[in-house]
Symmetry: D2
Subunit: 131 residues, 4 copies
């Protein structure tokens, strides 16, 4: 829920990596493994939530003036299609509003060929540099 | 997002276990490890989401007549306090409405001493026995 | 979204009234009229949202130390059954967590006989007395 | 929550009108009046919810094959800036996923100069022609 400059340990656990970032934007990837599956054999929704939350949180960290601390306050996911083991998911987190203390973000999680897997939105309480 | 009778693999990955269940109710536990942390060193919000989603999904599976398949459609979390490594979280998922094809659930995630860590709500598309 | 001590004008427009309040609790009522209906002839979901938002906002105003200003930041509704014209709806808003700057609330909207019409949750940014 | 071909009465109550529609898209407008205000004198969040729900519901009705019935199941709003009396709000509802039985939508509500007032997402249960 909160993040500073160190790479989160959970990224290693789930194989989450940064593809690219820009101001107010972060694209992250994760390739679901068998270990991440629900009983039906697809990637568990909570794991997809983790990826989406991560991409949104990372997008918040790209803001100028710099964000030294961000804590996710609210997270909402809508699951649209199942994510298969071995098929890389790409999450694009974007800041849609940034205030002094809060940031509102959204995210699209896509599978191969741009297939929409989930959409998400999140709000963050942020601490900016030199406050 | 979807579940059948097998134990989900993700439960093993995260150490999620069932404490108890009743009709329309499921209590699950998870003890955050270092591997599940965000950069601030607390349990990542997405992992808490996974626990909450799991408890709500499990509560749906307790319905009568039996649910042979449930797919989470929508998941919402509000994060209230940080969850520390080593401090067991208990998630209580409850069905607050069950229709023929959908179920609406909520969940409280609590830490030691009943400290409120997160609240969640979720909607599921369900398939009942003998439909 | 924001409120001070005056009775909101929208309460008059929609016939919203306070039934009772307690610390962290507010029960409000509204009786849908023909003017509030969607094309199917039931009370429009947005009007139910207004009632729920109002009950949650009112529950926030009951906190001690006093809240001099509250602004809803996030509002989520799940609609469960249709609300008919002339059948009074009762919304019970409760504060489930209150911090110095934020409050988290939930709400049940019920029709006659306690029939569940909608559930809601909301987060508020609050300003407390003597801050 | 539900809609058929008749114009909803609530549109008249709140002065909601269609600006334009396309496949999977609907742009609606509303000009807040004094009657719609909260105690702080701004347009009540629930009224903004009504506008957003309406734009999303209308976007669902533009789908091909035709939707003969749509019922909103879930509605989420994030409020970003206050909406003043007399300043027209424009809500752009878009279908981001349409299945046989469900549709997922989002919405931006903007004030004068494109100022972002709120974002919303909604899910609808739909009945298509000739099912």
């Amino acid at each position: 829920m909160s993040s500073t400059d160190t790479t989160p340990r959970v990224w290693s656990l789930l194989g989450i990596r940064v593809v690219s970032t820009g101001e107010g934007l972060a694209i992250m990837e994760m390739t679901p493994t068998e270990e991440m599956t629900n009983a039906a054999g697809f990637c568990h929704g909570g794991i997809i939530s983790t990826l989406a939350d991560t991409a949104m949180g990372r997008s918040v960290r790209t803001l100028v003036p710099g964000v030294v601390r961000s804590v996710s306050f609210d997270l909402k996911l809508t699951f649209i299609s199942a994510a298969k083991v071995g098929e890389t998911l790409q999450a694009t987190g974007r800041v849609i509003h940034a205030g002094r203390r809060t940031a509102v973000t959204d995210c699209r999680v896509e599978g191969p060929g741009g297939k929409l897997v989930a959409t998400a939105s999140g709000t963050f309480v942020v601490t900016r540099e030199k406050e």
